[in-house]
């Protein structure tokens, strides 16, 4: 009999007899499923967070901040700087209001936070409040008004992102908010294809400045470029200008680096969890496979007596272990997907000290990673029992049973 046929025959027997070892096998599958579900679930938090930030960047947009700033929150740009930036070459021009002459599509913005109670707990959270200029909407074409209307320039009116509106209290259209000395009215909500802006409240920067006593200063300038290639020209012009002390980044680059702290926590905790749980699951699988080998001692010995080679026996034990692991991996990945994917929550983005609302994202890559991890566990759990099975002394094993 050729080797391959042997392997198939023994493996088929091993797999057919799994139901006889139902308890232990189920425990292994459940153990590995748990590990994979947890791993994928934890990592999906990081993925969701990242995709909310990723969605925010456009390669055609440039973000200007003061040199050395790590986030929008940290930057300061005084009024005359902003004027110079808006006149730099490479910025697209467009009509900001009907009938007006084309102007540079650059929006100088303020980025502050305001305390708004979280719906889930009632305790105040740092909700980002962005003061913008008319070009803000042209620089973010994905932004759509979903209810109500835009705020009027110069008025104490705000537009609320859908994420913020769902997560925080008192942000429905028509409601009034008292921040400091002034009252603000929510006049509309907007969506932005899941981007981080949906967590924010927007208003006119000029109205916000006196409220946060920022005089004529801003924090960032977002500029829409004529094309993606215009970035270098724009950047050179600004960085070489002796009147300016600014750094220029593509918006995609900026948001790609944001959320480092939360992602660090999630990734490191996820890794730690995976290692610890993986060890636990491998022990579980080892136990199961050793018992499986023990239970099949007579069967294996009989096969060997009939002339089946040790290789076929090794493969059969490994195959059984991998099969259980694969089943566990797939179940675990699906569980993670069912429970975690799309789960909406909000958390503090340490880098900007403000809330970000986002949805957990179980990506296909995570599902694959989880299943591969399960197979590795199966491999580790099957190897030693397989070797033991292959080494069983035939005569002793036949007698033992």
């Amino acid at each position: 009999m050729n080797w391959l046929a042997q392997v198939f025959a023994v493996t088929a027997t091993a797999i057919r007899t799994i139901p006889q070892r139902r308890g232990a096998s189920l425990a292994t599958v459940a153990g590995i499923a748990g590990v994979v579900a947890v791993l994928v679930g934890v990592l999906s938090i990081g993925e969701g967070f990242r995709s909310a930030l990723r969605a925010a960047g456009s390669p055609q947009n440039a973000l200007v901040m003061r040199t050395g700033s790590d986030s929008e929150m940290m930057s300061v740009l005084v009024g005359d700087t902003v004027e110079i930036i808006a006149q730099a070459p490479g910025i697209a021009r467009g009509e900001l209001a009907a009938g007006e002459p084309a102007a540079p599509l650059a929006s100088a913005e303020l980025f502050v936070v305001v305390d708004v109670p979280k719906k889930s707990t009632g305790t105040p959270a740092n909700v980002p409040l962005r003061g913008v200029q008319p070009a803000a909407f042209a620089t973010r074409p994905d932004l759509k008004i979903t209810s109500g209307r835009k705020f009027e320039w110069g008025k104490n009116e705000v537009l609320v992102g859908e994420g913020a509106q769902k997560a925080f209290r008192g942000l429905d259209v028509g409601q009034r908010l008292k921040w400091g000395q002034n009252e603000w009215t929510v006049v509309g909500t907007f969506s932005a294809k899941g981007a981080v802006w949906e967590s924010e409240i927007w208003t006119d920067a000029r109205v916000l400045q006196p409220n946060y006593r920022r005089g004529n200063s801003f924090q960032t300038v977002v500029a829409r470029l004529e094309s993606e290639q215009a970035f270098d020209q724009f950047k050179d012009a600004l960085t070489k200008d002796p009147r300016l002390d600014v750094q220029v980044q593509r918006e995609t680059e900026y948001f790609g680096n944001q959320g480092r702290t939360l992602q660090g926590i999630v990734r490191k905790l996820g890794f730690l969890l995976a290692v610890l749980m993986g060890i636990g699951a491998v022990f579980g699988a080892l136990n199961t496979m050793y018992s499986a080998v023990a239970a099949r001692t007579r069967e294996v010995a009989t096969l060997r007596a009939l002339g089946f080679g040790p290789g076929a026996v090794v493969v059969s034990v490994m195959a059984e272990s991998m099969l259980l692991a694969a089943a566990g991996g797939v179940i675990g990945a699906l569980l993670a997907w069912a429970f975690f994917d799309g789960y909406r929550t909000s958390t503090l983005n340490w880098d900007t000290f403000s809330q970000v609302t986002f949805a957990f994202d179980v990506t296909p890559a995570l599902l694959v990673q989880g299943t591969v991890f399960a197979l590795l566990l199966g491999l580790a759990g099957g190897l030693f029992p397989a070797i033991r099975a292959a080494r069983l002394p035939v005569t002793a094993a036949l007698r033992e049973a």
Binding site: V35, V42, D70, K118, L273, N287, T347
Partner: protein
């Protein structure tokens, strides 16, 4: 102890299985230790907050500054024992990937701050050295260790937001003291002189971030908070005064479900591991039915059989759980696994006690069913089955 050899030989019956079961229990309890520490970390110190400390912040948001003149006004409120302030600095050490932005860096009033936080332990000569050097820094041991700083080191911090009058953002400080603290004390802070900071900064003179207020009796919290906020009502910078605990709880809530979800996950994993381990123990007893029948044949009573099986699972649980909790205490003590994102990271005694209880529970629950089965075993049935 005359049954010891019997117990020992039944554990050695399948050495591999015993070892793996033991190791699974060890892993489960290491995980449990992390679970406890992560829970504390995400609750951001709610458990250790001082009951007699209040925080006065700007009403609209903590990022809005308050005038430094508020200090004297707050100090005059009846029941207020001590007032001091801190501000946000948020500088970068070397580059952003070093994570220094996540460390609380505060321009503070050195005398007032140490009085406010007596749990920060610093030797007298280091305290004196810090007070005397205007560019001096008092840094927590965790942060000092993380960046390899020693007394006398000069460290440049990029202030990013705060620049000096010469428009430079590089602030140089001298490490003058390293403070320590017991369980639950944040030993990551980087504290320097407000006077120096305020004089040197380009903008924003005369403002501080928030005030910390010590009161005479926690029972008066509500009245004193109201009295403080009433002073500044209708001023351009209205205030909001809450207890340190409420502030910590607020931050925990801001982090939100993520903390809770990670904890649920850890808990689920822990119990799954226990379940799987318990199942293995039970299974190993079931496999030995006929041996137990033999024991009974030679005269072991039902009670002794029950005791033997329970002792076996109990021994495994205590051994594994003991090692696991021991390793857990060491691992948690070695510091937070994220490298500084979770400043408060320790294994609370309360949870250690719970862990020990769970160890015993595991031993009993895993052994009970098979032990009862073993006790009820009828010799003839069992011997026939084999």
């Amino acid at each position: 102890m005359k049954f010891w050899p019997l117990l020992w030989s039944s554990l050695r019956r399948r050495k591999a299985r015993t070892t793996f079961t033991l190791l699974s229990i060890v892993v489960a309890f290491v995980l449990f230790s992390y679970l406890a520490a992560v829970r504390v970390a995400f609750s951001a110190g709610v458990d250790v907050a001082g009951a007699d400390r209040l925080f006065t912040t700007h009403k609209t948001s903590i990022i809005q500054p308050l005038p430094s003149s508020y200090q004297d006004q707050i100090a005059r409120v009846p029941g207020v024992v001590l007032v001091t302030h801190a501000s946000w600095f948020g500088g970068i050490y070397q580059d952003a990937n070093k994570g220094f932005q996540g460390v609380f860096q505060g321009p503070v009033d050195p005398v007032g701050y140490l009085k406010m936080y007596p749990e920060f332990k610093v030797s007298d000569d280091q305290r004196k050295a810090w007070m005397e050097d205007r560019e001096g820094v008092l840094v927590g041991e965790t942060t000092a260790k993380r960046y390899g700083w020693k007394i006398g080191d000069r460290v440049p911090i990029n202030g990013t937001f705060w620049r000096k009058k010469d428009r430079s953002t590089i602030w140089e400080f001298n490490i003058r003291g390293i403070y320590t603290g017991g369980k639950g004390v944040d030993t990551t802070q980087f504290l320097f002189h407000y006077d120096y900071f305020d004089e040197a900064r380009e903008l924003g003179q005369g403002i501080v971030g928030w005030y910390m207020v010590r009161i005479d009796d926690p029972k008066n919290t509500t009245a004193i908070s109201k009295a403080i906020d009433a002073i500044f009502e209708n001023s351009p910078a209205e205030t909001k005064t809450v207890t340190e605990k409420a502030l910590a709880q607020g931050f925990a809530d801001q982090i939100g479900d993520i903390g809770a979800i990670i904890q649920w996950i850890l808990a689920a994993v822990f119990f799954t591991l226990l379940l799987v381990t318990g199942n293995t123990i039970a299974q190993s007893v079931r496999e030995r039915t006929n041996e137990l029948a033999v024991l009974k044949t030679v005269g072991f009573s039902d009670a002794t059989t029950l005791g033997l099986v329970l002792a076996e699972s109990g021994l495994l649980a205590i051994l594994g759980g003991g090692i696991g909790l021991g390793l857990g205490v060491m691992a948690v003590g070695a510091g937070d696994p994220t490298g500084g994102f979770l400043p408060i990271f320790y294994f609370p005694t309360k949870d250690l006690v719970l862990g020990v209880a769970l160890v015993f529970l595991l031993g009993i629950v895993a052994g009970l069913l098979p032990a009862v089965q073993a006790m009820r075993l009828r010799i003839v049935d069992a011997l026939r089955r084999a």
